[in-house]
């Protein structure tokens, strides 16, 4: 019905010193469609988006809006030509009100018409069904609502092209549903939406078309119904996949029970107020599952002592131990790869080497620094073992890609030779190839006798690796699934509470 092309990008090239980020890429967006832009990390998605929104200048190529070529040199230019972007990290001002955030920087009048602005904002919020009030301070809204406010702002600017860069990565399913409703609403108003995400399921739920990039080049543009999920993945990876599900077979076999390594009774923490029991055996891989906010991260953080522990008793290998702070847990052989890589994981400005040895160094103690030579050896060993792509051990970790950063953090914890490894969303925001590598690694470690707790938003991933799943809802453990009961259907039903 609405098939008139609103945006065309032709022959876009962009190079950075030493890297060819985009080479001769075409992209076409029609009005009233949701167009998913897919690719592994480093495929050039974010570069393409940034060229489109004026953050980077392009080296060659043309961008045309509704057939007219436009020059985009700054985010302001992009906005003026009807391209609006909502980034993964909220780009609004937390100290201003909701209404101000929707209208600031748009009006050129010298005075601020507060009354009218708040009225307009109220109308807009109501028409888009966004649960926020105009006079509310933005920082008091949830992340999802902030994102929707950013979208509302874009809509009110009569944008023709709306770019959503990983909008769902910090939302729970409910919020994602709200966002999708809003996206469908916009679609019907004829807005063309570019949707960038790592969640394959969401792509199939909402998109009309998919454009796949690989290594800075265009692979192709497909209608969603003509591209099954497995084909999409293989196009992103650039090779016929040795089917991911194949590794699951070996996974479940290693679920043999050994002696209990870790056991907690009535454990609770400041962030996880409801006491819970938990245990894991040697060589076991288990997982916490549930919706975001169901308490799965909080539970593993309590095990590691990441939040203030408020109660419960812990035994490890049969002996009673006290875990109050992360360092206690580390000394007992527990390692925790945190959910938020950027804020809780990497030390951005430090080198890869320093990032790798950090946890081991802390365990050795303040007065016993690891020598430069040893540190170098450790770093080299793990860079090789985990195939971390870095220029040198001196490179700051922030200049690595997301997947490689994650491997460095993984190396950091493996270096401490833990007997119990907790991985909280280790595969979030990283490319499919690294995801598979990490899953394989988990299974390999468990076969060597390490106990692993694995958390992921993607249930398939957990079914593939875990032999036991602990299901959480509303900060309570509501079920435990093992053996044959481990099916996607069962998990879903337990999460939803419809199983009984």
């Amino acid at each position: 019905m609405q098939n008139d092309v609103v945006l065309t990008m032709r022959g876009i090239c962009k190079s950075f010193p030493g890297v060819r980020a985009l080479h001769n890429v075409d992209f076409t967006l029609r009005s009233g469609e949701v167009h998913a832009l897919m690719g592994e990390n480093g495929a050039g998605k974010s570069t393409l988006i940034k060229v489109l929104t004026g953050v980077y200048g392009k080296d060659a190529g043309q961008i045309a809006i509704e057939g007219k070529e436009v020059a985009i040199r700054s985010p302001q230019d992009a906005q003026a030509s009807g391209i609006s972007t909502v980034y993964q990290e909220i780009t609004l001002c937390p100290n201003l009100t909701v209404a101000e955030n929707m209208f600031i920087g748009r009006d050129k009048s010298a005075l601020v018409p507060w009354k009218e602005m708040e009225r307009k904002a109220g109308e807009l919020l109501r028409s888009l069904d966004i649960p926020a009030r105009p006079k509310q301070q933005l920082s008091s809204c949830s992340l999802a609502v902030q994102q929707m406010i950013a979208i509302a702002r874009a809509v009110d600017q009569h944008c023709k092209v709306l770019v959503l860069d990983e909008p769902t990565s910090s939302l729970d399913d409910n919020e994602v549903a709200m966002l999708f409703k809003l996206m469908r609403d916009l679609k019907s108003r004829g807005v063309g939406i570019v949707f960038v995400t790592h969640f394959l399921g969401q792509v199939y739920e909402i998109s009309d078309r998919i454009t796949v990039l690989r290594n800075g080049e265009l692979v192709g543009e497909y209608k969603v119904e003509e591209l099954p999920q497995l084909d999409l993945v293989s196009k992103m990876m650039g090779k016929e996949l040795d089917d991911l599900s194949a590794i699951s077979v070996s996974g479940k076999e290693t679920g043999a029970k050994g002696e209990t390594v870790y056991e907690a009774k009535g454990l609770s923490s400041a962030a996880c107020p409801n006491p819970f029991d938990f245990h894991i055996a040697k060589g076991e891989v288990n997982g916490f599952t549930g919706l975001l906010g169901s308490g799965r991260s909080e539970s593993v953080r309590a095990i590691f002592g990441a939040d203030r522990v408020t109660g419960g008793s812990v035994t490890m290998n049969g002996q009673s131990v006290k875990v109050q702070k992360p360092i206690d847990a580390m000394r007992k052989g527990i390692a925790y790869l945190s959910e938020d890589r950027k804020d809780d994981g990497i030390i951005a400005d430090l080198s890869v080497r320093e990032n790798i040895i950090l946890a081991l160094q802390v365990m050795k103690g303040f007065g016993k620094p690891i020598s430069q030579a040893d540190a170098e050896a450790f770093a080299d060993e793990y860079i090789k073992a985990l195939e971390i792509k870095t220029a040198s051990t001196d490179t700051p970790i922030k200049s690595l890609s997301g997947g490689n950063q994650q491997k460095v953090i993984l190396a950091r914890w493996l270096l401490t030779h833990p007997q119990y490894l907790i991985l909280d969303e280790p595969t979030r925001g990283i490319d499919v190839g690294t995801k598979t590598e990490i899953q394989r690694l988990v299974l390999k470690l468990s076969s060597e006798g390490m106990s692993v707790t694995f958390i992921s938003s993607e249930i398939e991933e957990m079914l593939r690796t875990c032999s036991r799943l602990i299901v959480m809802r509303d900060r309570h453990i509501v079920g435990e699934l093992t053996g044959d009961a481990l099916t996607q259907d069962n998990v879903m039903r337990t999460i939803a509470g419809g199983g009984n």
Binding site: I327, S338, G345, L350, E354, G367, P369, T393, D394
Partner: protein, 354 residues
């Protein structure tokens, strides 16, 4: 494959302070070739000592250099600056004087007085550190408290305007040890430098401080006591304040709570910045800050040598500071980088054409 960064790449941030000192030295050599001559002479108390502008620069910058070391650590760990160092040094000096005036001055009492003022300064450091680390207050605001009332506390400790202390031991600390031709404060700075180097060599203070300064949450999840590291940084700065306060007292022979090390906090922060350390925290090089301190002192001495009135020195200092930071600013660096790039490209084109 393994590419090691060269010495120059690793120490790139030292270039700005080194170049500033170098430029000042060259300037002085043109102005007065004898500016840097060093000579041996006999001073009033009959010691053979080194004299000359270079020595007086090194000597005069001692208090600042010690403070700059501590300030570097606080900056790296907390991402902010302590503006109470001058006031804290006055308090420490006041304690030093108070103890020394209580009885006869012997080497033992001097050591006791020094240790006591270190303890007092550390307690104030813990106070500042607690406000910053536990209550999460911006360092500059947290230390504004002590900045406001520190000098009054220094006055209150001694209950007098400028108490004097005199003893050969203090002369030895403040100027020369008999038989050693180098001014003692220079030796004290060197000693502090060595102590810091040893601490960095035999503890993980550097790694921990940088980790906390860059990403406190991640540091905590890796078992580092982030609050403790920040407080420790402020405690170490407290000791630095005590050292420089004692040097100042020993040098002058009295303590004026209002003028001792006045506005030195500004110079100390400046030294950290000229040394190429980010005022936002994180990675640091203490050597840079010390060089920065000497650059500031070289500038001051140069201006005095040019007969600029002491009250007007600040204006000239300001101009030089602005020059240094403008040259080091990201925009100017970028423009410079573009220029170099264009020259390189032009050369490459030339080669291709050939």
């Amino acid at each position: 494959m393994k590419k090691k960064n060269g010495f120059f790449a690793r120490n790139a941030q030292l270039i700005v302070p080194l170049l500033s000192i170098l430029a000042l030295i060259v300037f002085n050599l043109f102005r007065d070739p004898s500016f840097f001559s060093i000579s041996l002479s006999v001073n009033n108390s009959g010691n053979t000592v080194l004299t000359g502008n270079l020595i007086s620069i090194l000597n005069g910058a001692s208090e600042l250099a010690v403070l700059a070391m501590g300030m570097t650590l606080v900056t790296a760990a907390s991402g902010g600056q302590d503006i109470s160092v001058g006031a804290l040094a006055a308090i420490a000096g006041s304690v030093f004087v108070k103890v020394l005036r209580a009885g006869e001055i012997t080497p033992v009492t001097v050591v006791v007085a020094f240790l006591l003022c270190c303890v007092v300064a550390m307690i104030f450091g813990v106070f500042n550190g607690t406000l910053v680390a536990v209550f999460k207050i911006q360092p500059m605001i947290a230390t504004l408290v002590l900045y406001t009332c520190g000098r009054s506390i220094a006055y209150w400790i001694n209950g007098g305007a400028s108490p004097t202390v005199a003893s050969p031991i203090l002369t030895a600390i403040g100027s020369f040890i008999p038989g050693v031709p180098i001014p003692t404060p220079i030796l004290i700075v060197a000693l502090c430098g060595v102590i810091f180097a040893l601490v960095f060599r035999f503890t993980t203070l550097r790694l921990y401080t940088q980790a906390v300064g860059i990403n406190q949450r991640a540091a905590r999840l890796n078992g580092i006591n982030a609050v403790g590291i920040k407080i420790l940084a402020f405690m170490i700065l407290g000791i630095c304040c005590a050292v420089s306060g004692c040097i100042a007292v020993a040098r002058l022979g009295y303590l004026n709570h209002e003028t001792v090390l006045l506005e030195i906090e500004m110079d100390a922060i400046l030294a950290v910045a000229i040394g190429g350390n980010a005022l936002g925290g994180g990675r640091f090089k203490m050597a840079g800050s010390v060089l920065g301190a000497y650059a500031i002192q070289t500038l001051t001495t140069t201006l005095y040598a040019m007969r600029v009135p002491s009250t007007a020195v600040k204006s000239y200092k300001a101009i030089v500071i602005i020059l240094i930071v403008v040259i080091g600013s990201p925009m100017v660096k970028e423009a410079f980088g573009r220029m170099v790039g264009r020259i390189k490209a032009a050369r490459a084109d030339g080669k291709e054409a050939a």
